[in-house]
Point group: C2
Chain length 417, copies 2
């Protein structure tokens, strides 16, 4: 018998400060909302919640699209849902690739039976619009798929020029906004993005498990114009869209608790406001970048700072330093997780995320102090405290100070003596 | 602008007693576990949790299979993952159908490119083994797919004879155990089921969103013998199996909170023990059935009580009673949800579930009292209190009494007078 009848203890994992590329730390208010007892999925109170989630999803994507709802799976499920639902076997699909998640789009599109035309770019740089244009000139294209925030390299791809091109060629544009939604602008309508797919576990600070998507009337028309049935039932956007409509077409059983969590995460975004939230993500990313540079470390992709994700800092592992050992020590001694890298960048860079609820001054300063200490153990020297000081200065320049906690941490007084 | 900038309030849904066909009420200990802060998905503490979830999944399926883990989606995602991963376009697939979820298997298999041979049975009865045998004689078959617990009709299909047949014909057997896992025996190894797929929101009392699956070496061999790539990336069991293996092959971002919830739900199952848990599900179902019959209502499928799901009671809507109005009143006045029906049974039966944490004496008695009251409003008369009394008698015959709460509900004493 493989089953070991050993004691399965209470779930008591160690505390972690999650500063990798995702998941970020779940917002405590999201976890609290997720503890709410369940409703049946056709209960009028639940369908009201669904409508609110749709409104909040439109808010997040800056969109008036009718269709705005979560696909019941992780970000990857949302990407596959969009591609499998839009693409009929043999359709030409132009996919931009300058990182791990571009590669994923290629692989998904191939599995969906598309005739994939990859447009390869340099890892660490954006895709040149001209390369997409050239691919579009190669033949009638159903879909252009690109990554908005390439988490593997820390690059933010401008979408508006690609959207314009796609429209000129009567193609649809799908954007992978898994890492960007809630952290930087995703203005679907203004930019002309036809389908946008996001995730919950990055800048929204909700646990992984849902993929908010939105698509416009052009994409919806493509769904209804299909000649061949979608190759998936679970990820069929037409069916999912009917379920998330007044028709309440029966499909999967709603993942109630995840829907509760997403609602609260989007509500927190709405409460904070788009501008304030994006500024907060930039603020902490800037402080982190100021700090790591003062530790003597080099930023990956520093040649094009204007195309850098504000909330994800890729850092070149310095010579003589053991990439994995540093991450292990950070977890073991400080409970801090930063991210490794994929493919050609594996072992060469770290990825430090400052997303959602993880993006706080305390986390940034703690990470820099811990990193200085661990790097010293690897023989990498920097001026003592220089990383933290640089981050503090970055915050001060932005008008942000630490909370004054002198009084509240002091004794409550021992009376007159 | 579609977005209404109205106030998005706190999540404060009404309390519900969920006695439909699923979701059942989430076990409070599951919801508490889901409030645990997140770990990164390659954190050694998280991979340890993954290994425990696999062990507990083997316990639940009574299996020694190497592969036993949750697919990151609802039960439907698990079913599609099994079919899309095993079936290559043109493969012959025999699908049993005597209810809504058999129809779903047909539809998924067709979308996956299978040559589907449906074996139709009567809704409310099991599939006769001979009909499966006849279909298997029709040609070389890759997969036989059947529903173990047909939630739409309340029927429990014996799997062992079908497994024997499938093996004789060198076909694999996949069983949809979405509703049965945790509520009645699912003995995958002993019965010879090659692939079993479950859900979380029925008898496991965990919110919907994961699909525990297990498959044996025969099925794993079929996965690795494929000539054509699986048509899905997200639902590719080979990739998912590699992620849930010591290789930790990178795939989707783990839905951490759902994994926490599933672990706790399976641990609660393990704590309770299989025999005790199945007996509890039978106990409350029996009491519910005794009660509804004393309300003068007829059980659907009563001709074959031996093939009835113990924890799902289908009840014929009596003449002159408005099916929907009864369910509405139950929710509005008593906060109790029971289920409607699908397709040919729509409007004709209710489905009353007593699954997982919903299966309590209090819930059964409250439901019967409320149902009596609401039916009286519809002009349906029964002896006052007869339903509740019959359930109480059913419990008493099984040796179960209500808790003695006289003392604890009384005043704490006013001292001697």
């Amino acid at each position: 018998m493989v089953v070991r009848m050993s004691h399965f203890g209470d779930l008591l994992p160690g505390a972690r400060v999650l500063l990798g590329p995702g998941p970020s730390m779940a917002d405590p208010r999201v976890l609290r909302a997720m503890a709410t007892p369940l409703l049946g999925q056709f209960d009028p109170e639940f369908t009201l919640i669904m409508n609110e989630v749709m409104d909040l999803t439109r808010f997040a994507f800056e969109s008036e699209n009718l269709h705005a709802y979560p696909v019941p799976g992780t970000g990857r499920a949302g990407l596959e849902a969009a591609i499998v639902s839009l693409v009929e076997p043999g359709d030409r699909v132009v996919v931009g690739e300058c990182g791990r998640f571009g590669l994923l789009l290629i692989e998904i599109a191939e599995r969906c039976g598309a005739d994939v035309v990859p447009v390869r770019g340099e890892w660490g740089r954006i895709l040149p619009t001209e390369a997409i244009a050239a691919a579009l000139h190669g033949g009638p294209t159903k879909l252009v798929a690109v990554v908005h925030g390439e988490t593997s390299t820390g690059v933010l791809q401008p979408l508006e020029p690609i959207a314009r091109l796609a429209r000129e060629h009567d193609a649809l544009l799908m954007a992978d906004c898994v890492v960007t939604l809630g952290g930087s602008e995703v203005a679907v309508d203004r930019w002309g993005v036809d389908v946008a797919v996001a995730g919950t576990q990055k800048c929204l600070s909700c646990p992984s498990g849902l993929a908010p998507v939105t698509y416009n009337a052009r994409a919806a028309a493509a769904l209804s114009r299909r000649r061949v049935k979608v190759r998936s039932n679970y990820l069929d956007l037409a069916q999912l869209g009917d379920y998330w409509s007044p028709a309440r077409f029966n499909h999967h059983t709603a993942p109630t608790t995840m829907v509760y969590g997403l609602r609260e995460a989007l509500r927190a975004f709405h409460d904070e406001g788009r501008d304030a939230r994006f500024a907060r993500h930039r603020l902490h990313g800037d402080a982190m970048r100021a700090g790591v540079q003062k530790l003597g470390l080099e930023l990956f992709g520093k040649e094009a700072p204007e195309h850098r994700l504000p909330f994800l800092t890729p850092v070149v592992v310095p010579p003589g330093v053991d990439e994995l050992r540093v991450r292990r020590r950070l977890v073991a001694d400080f409970g801090i997780e930063i991210g490794a890298a994929f493919g050609p960048l594996q072992g060469k860079i770290w990825r430090i995320g400052t997303m959602g609820a993880s993006a706080t001054r305390q986390n940034v300063l703690s990470c820099l102090a811990a990193l200085e200490h661990v790097l010293r153990g690897e023989g990498w020297r920097s001026a003592p405290g220089a990383g933290v000081d640089a981050a503090v200065a970055s915050y001060r320049d932005a008008g942000v100070r630490g909370e004054d906690v002198t009084e509240s941490l002091g004794a409550s007084g021992i009376g007159r003596v």
